[in-house]
């Protein structure tokens, strides 16, 4: 479905700041129906990779193919097929929804027309009431806003869904709900999922395969259970070691 070869992205330094090598030669494949996780600490280049996968940015090196067609450095007018087939859910549940737009218009944005029937279907699929349509984003909680974001991503009936840290900004109490919703929808609509997170335990919850990123490189890639149980790279071990602190905190919280 997606083929990434030696992908590089260097942000030019501006106003005296040094240039940043956000991606230093990343290669991987995502097969149709796969649930592909990308994990790495903040600043490791995950969002940069996501923007490139969606052809919202141009790489400084390497190639990306979507269903055998190159999408890197291609002008927007030749990306129409990609826009219908690949959609993104972003991290920030406030910043990814236009504050001046009603939920109806936000969700229908990828359709480029108003379609009340489809709207009702989508609201139902993400578990929002029908009357949400005429309200504005700020009238919803973080979790609900992420549901709106998911509904918008599903609107054009895509084949691939990219989720960039979709629960990182949410209250711990609603994370599981949104994760389960995503997992359900991926199954129901037979989506190929690319799921980004800084938390391997979250990736393990929804993905079958994982790529571990560190400073713009993939240091480990494989079956998620295998990577979790027998990490080969020191960095992966550190990530796993860091995650349980959250779990432990949660457990303590639940105990009382």
């Amino acid at each position: 479905m997606i083929e990434v070869r030696d992908l590089r992205r260097t942000y030019r330094g501006r106003l005296g700041r040094p240039a940043v090598d956000a991606l230093r030669g990343v290669s991987f494949d995502v097969a149709a129906g796969q649930r592909f996780g990308i994990v790495g600490e903040s600043g490791s280049g995950k969002s940069t990779l996501v923007r490139l996968l969606a052809a919202l940015d141009t790489p400084t090196g390497g190639t990306i193919s979507f269903r055998g067609t190159r999408i890197d450095g291609v002008p927007e007018r030749r990306l129409k097929f990609l826009r219908d087939e690949l959609q993104i859910v972003f991290q920030d549940p406030m910043g990814s929804l236009d504050p001046r737009m009603r939920v109806r218009d936000i969700i229908c944005e990828p359709l480029k027309r108003r379609d009340d029937e489809r709207l009702a279907e989508l609201l139902d699929a993400v578990g929002l009431p029908l009357d949400a349509a005429s309200r504005y984003p700020h009238q919803f909680s973080g979790g609900q806003r992420q549901r709106i974001s998911i509904a918008r991503a599903l609107a054009p009936d895509p084949k691939v869904l990219i989720a960039d840290e979709p629960v990182s900004a949410l209250d711990v109490s609603v994370r599981a709900q949104i994760l389960n919703l995503l997992a359900d929808l991926v199954e129901r609509y037979e989506l190929t999922l690319v799921f980004v997170s800084h938390d391997l335990s979250v990736v393990r919850h929804v993905c079958d395969t994982v790529a571990v990123m560190r400073r713009g490189e993939i240091v480990e890639l494989g079956d998620v259970e295998q990577v979790y149980q027998q990490p080969l790279h020191e960095y992966t071990r550190e990530l796993i070691a860091a995650a349980p602190t959250l779990r432990a905190a949660l457990a303590r919280f639940q105990e009382g």
């Binding site: 919202l56 927007e76 993104i88 972003f90 990814s96 236009d98 990828p110 504005y136 700020h138 918008r152």
Partner: protein
């Protein structure tokens, strides 16, 4: 911006009251003024305040109150046209500068800085010299001189909007730049533009007064606050009233629009409060 709770904003209220007063006076002048503001009558020249002439009369015997009332029309008319010209040219220019390739954006902004560096009054005087001095040339000249402030604010607002994830999402949805500009950028920078309009309005009012004072603005006999000031000059020592009355009118309008602009700024974006 979106979590705007209704705060008490004394500046906003004060500005709205002063601006409302000017607008009200201008509107009333269409249906009623105590006297004909242009009627010359030697019998009543240079009268002090009386029951009939509340603020007295000028050297031609014209009623000051009536002139101020009709002058408010001129003031608002100039402000609306000047700000309208500036907003209609400056806003698309600023959005274009922010959304086009870097070199083009930079070019637009350099030209913009050039216009900004050119003194507005000088531009208006040149316009007056070429096309003949009139309210119309003054308005257009003030408008053109105000274009850069709109272009700047529109550009910085647009750059901010373009860096948001909702614009990324719109791009991922296959929206063209033009559609993004109309659907996402414009509604989100509207607040900034309204604030800018109010502040520019104050500047335009002042500029029109200055131009009319210099003889490059509104022509006689159309009443204008700036020209009333000018005509008061020769009698300043003996009849300061003739300067004070239009002076206060100008001050009220300028203060009103400035306060309104500041109040709106605070209301729309508390983070910008107190900044110029």
């Amino acid at each position: 911006m979106t979590t705007a709770v209704k705060r008490r904003t004394p500046t906003l209220t004060a500005g709205a009251v002063l601006v409302g007063l000017v607008v009200l006076v201008a509107l009333v002048s269409f249906i009623w003024t105590p006297h004909d503001p242009t009627r010359v009558d030697a019998a009543v020249r240079l009268l002090g305040p009386t029951g009939d002439f509340l603020f007295g009369t000028d050297k031609f015997g014209r009623d000051l109150v009536s002139q101020i009332m009709v002058g408010a029309r001129t003031t608002l008319y100039v402000g609306v046209v000047a700000v309208g010209v500036a907003a209609l040219i400056g806003t698309p220019l600023g959005i274009l500068a922010a959304m086009s390739p870097r070199w083009l954006g930079e070019f637009i902004m350099r030209v913009n800085d050039l216009v900004l560096a050119f003194p507005a009054l000088l531009l208006a005087i040149m316009f007056g010299a070429v096309f003949g001095a009139s309210t119309w040339t003054a308005m257009v000249a003030i408008g053109i001189a105000t274009v850069p402030s709109f272009a700047r604010i529109a550009r910085s607002g647009t750059m901010q909007v373009m860096s948001t994830e909702y614009v990324l999402a719109a791009r991922a949805a296959g929206r063209s730049r033009l559609v993004i500009a109309r659907r996402h950028v414009l509604p989100n920078i509207a607040g900034l533009l309204i604030v800018q309009s109010s502040v520019s309005f104050a500047i335009a009012v002042l500029a029109e007064a200055a131009l009319s004072f210099l003889g490059f603005g509104t022509r006689p006999p159309t009443p204008s606050w700036g020209r009333m000031l000018q005509e008061s000059q020769e009698l300043l020592a003996v009849q300061p009233r003739l300067a004070i009355v239009p002076g206060i009118a100008i001050a009220v309008a300028v203060l009103g629009f400035n306060l309104l602009g500041d109040g709106l700024r605070d209301r729309l974006d508390p983070r910008l409060a107190g900044r110029r």
